[in-house]
């Protein structure tokens, strides 16, 4: 095996024209397959006047109708458990997974075959290799290994690379931290939130992570992996490089990864997917540097073809040249910026949970936090940030931190006044997966009389 910074150098450094030709070819094959094997797709494609032979360029992609999560949920409820989306009999599959359902919505169910799992792990390999993971690494997974797809593909990727894999399911945080030290683990995979939780646990145990064996962290599952302040905090706590990745159950794997040049964003795996960024209202494509919604078309997982799936993820695409690693795959600057529907309107000001986290994480004395929206005097929107500050008694300036935080939050939100309140240690929820730190208790949203539906 040659030493290379790339998993598949030909694809990762392909010039953009050649990449476009490859994508068109694969798109044609995908449309052909979906059209022939999945009547649900076939009907929609026919209605839009799309067939494989009419796909001549990437522009033709835009003639394919969007798929949405609502489509998947509605059809799977109507025809349980998988809806009309399978291209092959379910008995030809080898694995079942479902979305985590943390948002309280009906979970999406998916199936995959043997080669699909090779493809799923392959995409993780692309990302892990780019971040410097090699066969000699010992990789620990702080992951529960359930029906949520999470790091499953990463686990197989590490076996494929030849790493020693330590599966950390069904373990306490204490046991996980101790195992990391006992086994000289060099790479840890977890959510950003849980990486911080393990760091706190290590401190409690008197173990100094920064002097420990871990050299790299692979983060996934939350946008925080690309929030500079959060990432910096995690890297400092662990004394290790942290690389962001993001995937989704609907495609079964990651679609973006951070390379070891750490350009402040994540490369898009463009040989296996087509990623579009659109204005969520007009549904028109946006330019480089503009925020918009991710739409994904996947060349893998033929078992449940995915064409132009609206993800609801908010991203900002920039050219590949933004990074010096030599890859020609474009980048999502700042990774996944949040959800299109994450934005809250508070007294006329846009508030994004991610932007608040970016400020809160600049204050390292703050452990956990929550953004709380509520209605005051039955009419007025209010926002407060609740924080837990361990070891408060020993800090010199007890209230200065809260004051400073309030000022920074206000300055970053067009002067919007936000309350900052300290709450007792352990009173805020902890998360292992997909942290939800925003609680919206408003009975009136936006102060304009729009009543909440539920």
């Amino acid at each position: 095996m040659t030493e290379s910074p790339y998993w598949n150098s030909r694809h990762e450094t392909m010039n953009r024209n050649e990449l476009g030709r490859l994508q068109v070819h694969r798109l044609r094959r995908l449309v052909e397959w979906a059209d022939a094997k999945v009547p649900w797709h076939s009907q929609r494609l026919r209605k839009a006047g799309v067939s494989a032979d009419k796909i001549k360029s990437l522009e033709d992609l835009r003639r394919i109708p969007f798929m949405t999560r609502d489509d998947l949920m509605r059809e799977q409820l109507a025809q349980p458990p998988f809806g009309p989306f399978l291209s092959a009999p379910a008995e030809k599959a080898i694995r079942y997974h479902m979305t985590s359902g943390t948002s309280g919505r009906t979970p999406i169910r998916v199936l995959d075959g043997i080669k699909d799992w090779e493809w799923i792990s392959e995409n993780w390999c692309t990302g892990f290799w780019a971040f410097g993971i090699r066969p000699e690494d010992r990789v620990f997974f702080a992951f529960s290994y359930g029906t949520f797809i999470g790091f499953w593909g990463a686990h197989y990727c590490c076996e494929k690379i030849g790493c020693l894999v330590l599966p950390g399911g069904n373990m306490t945080t204490k046991a996980r931290v101790e195992l990391i030290f006992d086994m000289d683990v060099t790479v840890v995979c977890s959510t950003p939130t849980y990486a911080m939780r393990m760091a706190q646990e290590a401190e409690k145990l008197g173990l100094n992570l920064a002097d420990g064996p871990v050299k790299r962290l692979i983060l996934s599952g939350e946008p925080a992996g690309s929030i500079p302040a959060t990432k910096k905090l995690i890297e400092r706590q662990w004394g290790a490089m942290a690389g962001d990745t993001a995937g989704m159950t609907e495609i079964g794997t990651i679609m973006i990864f951070e390379c070891d040049h750490q350009p402040g964003g994540t490369h898009i795996i463009e040989d296996q997917l087509i990623e579009e960024v659109i204005n969520p209202e007009t549904e028109e494509p946006v330019s480089y540097g503009e925020r918009g919604e991710r739409v994904v078309t996947s060349f893998g997982r033929g078992f449940m073809p995915l064409l132009r799936y609206r993800t609801g993820d908010l991203v900002m695409r920039v050219p590949a040249a933004t990074c010096s690693c030599g890859r020609t795959w474009d980048i999502y600057d700042g990774g996944i910026l949040g959800r299109v529907d994450d934005m809250k309107l508070v007294r006329g000001t846009n508030v994004y949970p991610r932007a608040i986290e970016a400020i809160v994480r600049q204050f390292e004395d703050i452990d956990e936090f929550q953004i709380h929206l509520y209605t005051a005097d039955e009419i007025r929107d209010e926002i407060e940030v609740l924080v837990e500050i361990p070891d408060r008694e020993n800090r010199e300036d007890k209230d200065g931190l809260l004051r400073q935080l309030a000022i920074k939050l206000r300055e970053a939100h067009e002067g919007l006044r936000m309350g900052v309140k300290e709450v007792s240690i352990g009173s805020l929820p902890r998360f292992e997966l997909k942290a939800k730190r925003l609680k919206d208790d408003r009975i009136v949203i936006g102060g304009s009389g729009e009543r909440r539906e539920s």
């Binding site: 092959a88 043997i114 080669k115 493809w119």
Partner: protein
Amino acid sequence: MKNCVGRELSQYEQKIAEVYENLLGVVRDHGQEMQPFAACNARKALGALWQIANGMDLDPDQLYDIHV
């Protein structure tokens, strides 16, 4: 021998392509008569070879009909 985007395959790539096609043929033609240990391991190997073929842009077909 060229791949789907018109690139000439290297010597080792051609050999892998042949291995893939050969194993695919064996599983398709003899899958029913193979012992369980042989059939199941062959299918697993085929899944891995499929991924190499995909990475080399050989445009491999979907293989669900043979449980891969």
